[in-house]
């Protein structure tokens, strides 16, 4: 069957700066399990885009294969979407970004997609610093094939069937930092007050923005003994700080002693409070240290982990024209007959 939302809209729905209502950022009805963390993340993405007043059609959402990769159908229905092949979203996103540097790119991926079959592409997308938001909906298991452990499952974590994972987890946040990602964050699907401002900041960030979102699988990995269950995450979650996103031209009102403001490339700002001890979001060493220390303590560290606000994305590095390549026409692309004749002459 086809899932379509009713088209009825309440006339008094609040509108954003560009006159869109929140409905304009919604997608088809989700077919994921009731209570799936992924749906909360979809909602957070829609909410962030609505609040930031991004024109829906100026967003492209891309994904691989898996439960997480289905979600782009469930948010931003007025945006083009591309559900590609397993683990290969980063390459498709690279091509799309090269073709048109002016759109906002959302890559949505899962732990199987990014930490296993697509690890190579994930790594190289970071290395190339694509200007995109890369969301990993991380549940530590393969939901669509009924709950096998993924590469992000913690060593010792128990599955629903009772077996224990015997292998070490790949930490995508630690990996992202190591590879030079210019925006690294971790969040929890159950914490929208943290996730929404992080997504907004990620959109504003001019380079590769990784958000690893722990998103419990209610059907296969929400049992006692699992380290990716709602209960376990809630009990072990720690935050680097609270995060407020302050759009361009808005004044920051609140002020605390243990607060920090990070001005983003487009003039918006992140207002961070209750800072984790010894952590500075613009200092990679302190970020790596915070991640390792909390891991030692058995904590799940969330929030903004690291940011390099002024960064050169792939198009800057390649010195591509500011005009989207997909709009160029024959006059700029085809060297013409005289150049060809000269070339022929040089080959005789």
């Amino acid at each position: 069957m086809t899932y379509v939302r009713p088209t009825f809209r309440h006339p008094d729905l609040p509108k954003n700066k560009i006159n869109f209502t929140k409905k304009d950022y919604e997608g088809a009805l989700s077919t994921l399990c009731a209570g799936c963390g992924h749906d909360s993340i979809s909602g957070a993405i829609a909410q962030a885009c609505f609040e930031l007043s991004v024109e829906p059609h100026r967003i492209a959402k891309l994904s691989g294969i898996g439960c997480s990769s289905k979600t782009p159908a469930y948010f931003l229905g007025n945006s083009h979407g591309f559900n590609s092949v397993h683990g290969r979203m980063p390459s498709v996103a690279t091509g799309a970004y090269l073709a048109n540097r002016d759109l906002v790119y959302f890559g949505v991926s899962g732990d199987g997609d990014s930490a296993s079959i697509g690890m190579g592409q994930f790594v190289h997308a970071i290395r190339r610093n694509l200007n995109m938001v890369y969301v990993v909906m991380n549940n530590g298991c393969y939901g669509l094939t009924k709950g096998q452990d993924s590469a992000t499952a913690d060593n010792g974590s128990k599955s629903k069937a009772g077996s224990t994972n015997l292998f070490n987890a790949i930490d995508l946040v630690g990996l992202g930092l190591e590879l030079g990602a210019t925006f690294v964050a971790r969040s929890f699907s159950g914490d929208k007050t943290q996730l929404i401002p992080l997504i907004k900041a990620a959109i504003s960030h001019p380079g590769f923005a990784l958000i690893d979102v722990i998103s419990p699988c209610v059907t296969f990995n929400n049992n006692v003994g699992s380290t990716k269950s709602y209960d376990y995450v809630r009990e072990h979650i720690e935050a680097t700080s609270t995060v407020d996103f302050v759009p361009v031209m808005e004044e920051i009102t609140a002020s605390y002693d243990d607060a920090k403001e990070v001005t983003l490339h487009d003039g918006s700002a992140l207002h961070l409070q209750k800072l984790h001890q010894g952590w500075n979001p613009e200092d990679k060493l302190s970020a790596m240290n915070a991640i390792q220390t909390s891991k030692e303590k058995g904590e799940i560290l969330t929030g903004l982990i690291y940011i390099e606000p002024n960064t050169n994305a792939l198009h800057d590095v390649l010195q591509t024209t500011k005009t989207p390549l997909n709009t160029l026409k024959e006059d700029l692309l085809c060297p013409g007959i005289d150049a060809l004749e000269a070339l022929n002459q040089s080959l005789r």
């Binding site: 086809t2 304009d24 024109e55 829906p56 059609h57 100026r58 492209a60 891309l62 782009p72 159908a73 229905g77 007025n78 945006s79 083009h80 979407g81 591309f82 559900n83 590609s84 092949v85 290969r88 980063p90 390459s91 498709v92 996103a93 690279t94 091509g95 799309a96 090269l98 073709a99 048109n100 002016d102 759109l103 190579g120 592409q121 190289h124 190339r128 792939l314 198009h315 390649l318 010195q319 591509t320 024209t321 500011k322 390549l325 997909n326 709009t327 160029l328 024959e330 700029l332 692309l333 085809c334 060297p335 013409g336 007959i337 150049a339 060809l340 070339l343 022929n344 080959l347 005789r348």
Partner: protein, 599 residues
């Protein structure tokens, strides 16, 4: 028999010793004298040290295929010398470095030895070891110019062109040439009976490699995104694209580029980027060889099913697996035609010379966007990495890119509901939209899963079948859009037909002439594309027996013809060469004669 303008010279060198440019100059000089020439590199998968050969066929009749039999061997590599001596045709010549005497095992009674103390001359003339090595090559070219009657002025002119901007290097090179000439003048009677004579048989033709022509074609076709992973023998396609794009597509004031090139982490990513860029409305391509095509299968299937344009240039090499990476074959036909799981078919184009490479590459971009599907240009190592004499490149100044069926914001504004996979025109080709076109209309979800006409996911059997049938209809439409085959006769003259394509063309044309001298008349058809259209079917229908000439073991093109056109297999006779070397006319003549004798 006089061998004026009709002989084969082979150079035996050590890889990485700078012989390529000297040997290239030799071939180019003959070309400049108006004589048809075809050079071929026979090189190892190695950067330095292993034996490498350069073979030049000179043909007054204009035959550009490889010919068996070596009339003059220029032996500068002790490693391969024994084999090199043995490979000279009886009555031929063996030029060697006589600084040290030749051991008796190298002596044959039926060939003439031309000993030149190359190393001795170099030791005497030069002190720098690198100079000794490089000028050795120039000295033997000088010696050859005297022995074969190559005009010295032509060589001087080529040196002047080669060292344009570095003019101070010219006199030393000219001097090295003269050292070779002088030695011949003082020690041999010259010129030899094999020699060249100026002709006017080249016209306005050019010498260029197929990979360069493909790269240039991609620039002319408006490709803006190239993604690739290095692999022999395709690497120079993107390198040449970069060279010409840099030259023609860089803003002179800002230095900004109207193109983007990414060296991907592997072939999977390369084709993924191409798919992503094309989905987003840019013309994008990649180049690879057989092993890369194997890796790209997954995305080619997505491109077919999700209907996304892509251009892939496959420079075939000898397979299977890693095979012989620096040898040629036409053995990716089957995998390219049916790449990926499920029911898939892909449009293939078969260039046979550099001009074809240029034109079929430009056509590939139009076809990819018109048909919204991957297009694979199947060239090969022989065509891609060797210089070929070719008609000059042409471009119609009025030519506009065919961007296919794409709805604009205005179109969307004035229409009802957009259906990405609706067959509105009845040709199986739907309309697409680029991301970012219209605020509320035209967005859709691209997917490799089954979907309905509005791009909504479905597992409804009837809808799935309807979609697959539409793709089949699109395939029928493709038959009329792809380049037609080339026929060598206005009207059929024989019950015997012959089919060939790509680099088998040169030797096939020669073989047809040779067989005609034996009163065997063949009607000929050169394939340019897959799917096969009615003309291809008709040609086979009109002949009792059709020989299919190709360079692979399993007769892949023959199988494709049988499979797609439901031909009686007995009617199609395989003529094959798959040893990694370009097919020769002799081989074709032998195979066809043998087959006719049996029949």
């Amino acid at each position: 028999m006089s061998k004026v303008n009709d002989f084969v010279v082979r150079f035996a060198n050590v890889n990485g010793t700078g012989s390529a440019s000297a040997n290239g100059m030799f071939a180019k000089a003959i070309f400049r004298m108006g004589i048809p020439v075809t050079p071929k590199n026979i090189f190892p998968s190695n950067i330095q040290g292993l034996p490498t050969w350069y073979e030049v066929r000179i043909s007054e009749k204009g035959y550009l295929g490889r010919r068996e039999g070596i009339d003059l061997m220029v032996s500068v590599n002790p490693q391969s010398m024994l084999k090199d001596v043995q490979s000279v045709s009886s009555g031929g010549y063996f030029m060697y470095d006589s600084t040290k005497p030749l051991h008796k095992e190298y002596i044959r009674e039926d060939i003439t030895y031309l000993g030149i103390p190359l190393m001795g001359i170099c030791m005497e003339q030069y002190t720098d070891p690198r100079q000794r090595q490089l000028f050795k090559n120039i000295i033997y070219v000088g010696a050859l110019s005297a022995l074969l009657d190559i005009e010295f002025g032509v060589l001087e002119q080529l040196l002047a062109e080669q060292f344009k901007g570095k003019e101070k290097l010219i006199p030393a090179n000219v001097q090295a040439l003269q050292l070779g000439v002088k030695y011949v003048q003082e020690n041999f009677s010259y010129p030899l009976d094999i020699r060249v004579e100026r002709r006017d048989l080249v016209g306005n033709r050019i010498m260029f490699d197929g990979n360069g022509a493909c790269g240039l074609g991609a620039v002319y076709a408006g490709a803006t995104v190239a993604a690739w992973y290095p692999i022999t023998p395709s690497t120079s396609v993107v390198e040449k694209f970069e060279k010409y794009a840099k030259k023609f597509r860089t803003d002179k004031e800002t230095g900004e580029k109207n193109y983007a090139i990414v060296q991907a982490e592997d072939e999977l990513a390369a084709i993924g980027m191409v798919i992503g860029a094309n989905w987003n409305g840019a013309r994008s391509f990649t180049a690879t060889s057989g092993p890369g095509v194997s890796l790209m299968n997954e995305f080619l299937g997505l491109g077919y099913f999700a209907e996304i344009p892509a251009v892939l240039i496959d420079v075939q090499r000898t397979g299977p697996s890693t095979g012989m990476p620096t040898r040629t074959q036409q053995s990716d036909i089957t995998i390219s035609a049916y790449a990926s799981h499920g029911d898939t078919k892909h449009v293939l184009l078969f260039p046979s010379n550099p001009k074809d490479c240029f034109e079929l590459t430009t056509d590939a971009f139009d076809l990819a966007e018109r048909l919204q599907t991957p297009i694979i240009v199947l060239t090969d190592l022989d065509l891609g990495m060797n210089d070929h004499m070719s008609e000059p490149f042409e471009w119609n100044p009025d030519r506009k890119y065919d961007r296919g069926k794409v709805y604009t914001a205005e179109d969307l504004e004035n229409m009802g509901r957009f259906g990405r996979y609706l067959d509105s025109d009845g040709d199986g080709i739907p309309y697409r939209t680029y991301p970012g076109t219209h605020p509320t209309k035209g967005s859709y979800f691209t997917r490799g899963t089954s979907r309905d006409e509005y791009a909504v996911y479905t597992e409804d059997s009837a809808v799935y079948v309807r979609n697959m049938q539409r793709l089949e209809k699109k395939w029928e439409t493709a038959k009329d859009l792809v380049p037609k085959p080339h026929f060598y006769q206005e009207k059929n003259m024989s019950p015997l037909g012959v089919i060939f394509f790509g680099t088998s063309t040169y030797s096939s044309e020669e073989a047809i002439d040779l067989l005609r001298e034996q009163d065997v008349v063949l009607d000929a058809m050169q394939l340019k594309a897959f799917p096969f259209n009615k003309d291809v079917e008709q040609f086979i229908e009109d002949h009792e027996v059709v020989f299919v000439i190709e360079q692979n073991r399993d007769a892949q093109m023959r199988s494709l013809l049988i499979n797609e056109l439901e031909i009686n297999p007995k009617k199609l006779i395989r003529v094959l060469n798959y040893d990694g070397m370009p097919i020769t006319a002799d081989k074709i003549v032998k195979e066809i004669s043998k087959s006719l004798a049996v029949a």
